[in-house]
């Protein structure tokens, strides 16, 4: 019988991603209730030193798959080594973060293992001994609760920033199991990698997001949002209107045809609140709206609203936050 809850440990810039810790924290509880092991799978090169630390977040065991040809992520290489290990050990569940890489890997592994995959889940529950996943559809305009009756492992990708992380247990370490694996034929050849240097957090993982819409009037004005974001350690987002106008790149778009985000604070500046934008940020814990149109739709969902010209309000807000953060 399939046993063990497995979590894909995603690494960026030689650090375990927060979403991995979020999934481990949830996985720990289910592993205890089911009396199964919680295992992490770490794939790459020169990452072994990160493995024991996963224990602090709840992992009992960490499989470390390392190799020269695994230094860069390739769909083929990672799919093969992960799927091979799963075939060998037959865990009951395999969970990944719903990141660009997590999504890419999950679909391939799920099909190779002939199993079901629930993506972008916002909640997991254990009901009658089975894992039940909640996931948004229509970009959050509706939700579905679903499970995988027979095929194992059940697979799911979990949206970053929605599951709480338990405080790491200092001194708790995981058993590290090195795995020698053959990534096989890599049909994707990486010719070039371009990374924008940014000191800001990733949009989907940010705790605070400052976002601009049509009211920004031009690309040059995003500077005032960046200044606010820098004070708060926030990410900067944009509405579809701003992206379609060419003021911001698509990677910054929040909404049904962009990213779905759930930060603690979402500050919408000059955003009218079209239904497809609300779908992308409606699960934010606290929404702040600044718009000069008192009738703007965004005020219907905002926790706090200010009816004002954003060009006056945003710099003032930056100053107020500076004062607040300097005093605390």
């Amino acid at each position: 019988m399939a046993k063990g809850i497995w979590v894909y440990a995603e690494v960026r810039d030689n650090k375990i991603k927060k979403v991995t810790c979020e999934i481990l924290s949830a996985g720990r509880k289910f592993a205890d209730q089911l009396g199964e092991e919680l295992c992490a799978v770490l794939v790459g090169k020169g990452l072994a030193e990160l493995a024991p630390g996963l224990g602090a977040y709840g992992a009992d065991k960490v499989y470390v798959i390392e190799g020269d040809r695994l230094e860069n992520y390739t769909t083929d290489g990672y799919t093969k080594v992960v799927a091979d290990l799963i075939k060998e050990h037959q865990p009951s569940a395999f969970l990944l973060g719903c990141t660009i890489r997590g999504r890419d890997l999950a679909a391939q592994v799920a099909q190779r293992l002939n199993t079901g995959l629930l993506t972008d889940c916002t909640d997991i529950a254990l009901e009658d001994g089975r894992l039940v996943f909640t996931r948004p559809i229509y970009a959050g305009k509706a939700f579905v609760r679903a499970y995988c009756p027979e095929a194992r492992p059940v697979m799911a990708t979990i949206r970053p920033n929605v599951l709480p992380v338990d405080a790491p247990q200092e001194g708790r370490t995981a058993e590290v199991v090195p795995v020698s694996a053959d990534p096989g034929d890599l049909r994707q050849v990486i010719r070039e990698v371009v990374r924008q240097v940014s000191t800001r957090p990733e949009l989907t993982e940010a705790d605070i997001i400052v976002s601009g819409g049509r009211g920004m009037k031009g690309p040059e004005n995003f500077k005032i949002l960046e200044e606010l974001a820098d004070v708060l350690g926030a990410a900067v987002g944009a509405s579809r209107a701003a992206v379609d106008a060419g003021w911001a790149p698509h990677s910054m778009q929040v909404g049904q045809t962009g990213k779905t985000v759930s930060p603690t604070i979402y500050i919408a500046c000059g955003i009218s609140g079209a239904i497809q934008h609300l779908a992308g940020m409606g699960s934010s814990k606290c929404i702040v709206a600044i718009n000069k149109d008192p009738e703007a739709n965004i005020f219907k969902v905002a926790t706090y609203g200010i009816v004002a010209d954003l060009f006056q309000a945003v710099p003032l807000l930056t100053e107020e936050f500076k004062k607040l953060l300097a005093s605390s």
Binding site: A274, T303, Y304
Partner: protein
Amino acid sequence: MKIIVLMKQTFDTEAKITLDGQGKINRQGVNLIINPYDEFAVEEALRIKEKHGGEVVLVSVGADSVQEALRQALAMGADRAVLINPEMEEVDEFTTATILARAVSGLGYDLILGGWRAIDDGSAQVAGRVAEILDLPVVNQVTKIEIEAGKAVATRDIEGGNEVVEVSLPAVLTAQKGLNEPRYPTMKGIMQAKKKPMEKKNLADLGLSADQAAPKVKVLEYFLPKPRAAGKILEGEVPEAVAALVKALREEAKVI
């Protein structure tokens, strides 16, 4: 060059979602469109055909209503369409991918394009599963495609940047926003589309049984999110309102 485009019909992005009497998603009166990401794939296929010659074949899984979306893509310039109606009560991504892969393998292909996800279920796994079934390399979320001598060179989104990935053809590539700006069908295109071949198939035509395509995932329930209560408008002159906002975030919402 034979290019297959995997296409899905979805609700309009402006659609308001409600549940019907059975607790399922209400499809009545909803405006249907080509999944926007698939529309980028159709456009890219047409551009590749214009440059390198060949044929663009649309393949979709769904009910008869999907013909409308297929006609629209034919009007953009695709050559023909295949629609498979699974006539199954429940389907999941495994089902759809199994059917698409079978249909596509009967057609032959040099390149398979699709949207990286559909805006309805947003699961982003069907194209990847098709690639896996057909044993083809996949590159997801591409914003640029160059075809050179039996290869595709694609630029794909990665976290905090992008990378250029080369794959041999045939391959599966999925479109991200930014790949292109889809054309509008011309009047001539719309007239021509009416005469273009549209094949309708069922599972038996593909030699598949409902069992072989049976979903792996089972839905327990659909529900709508609790509507967000409108909050507080902070009144007064802007400097006061801003100060009140920061105070509220700290003391009332306790989020900073």
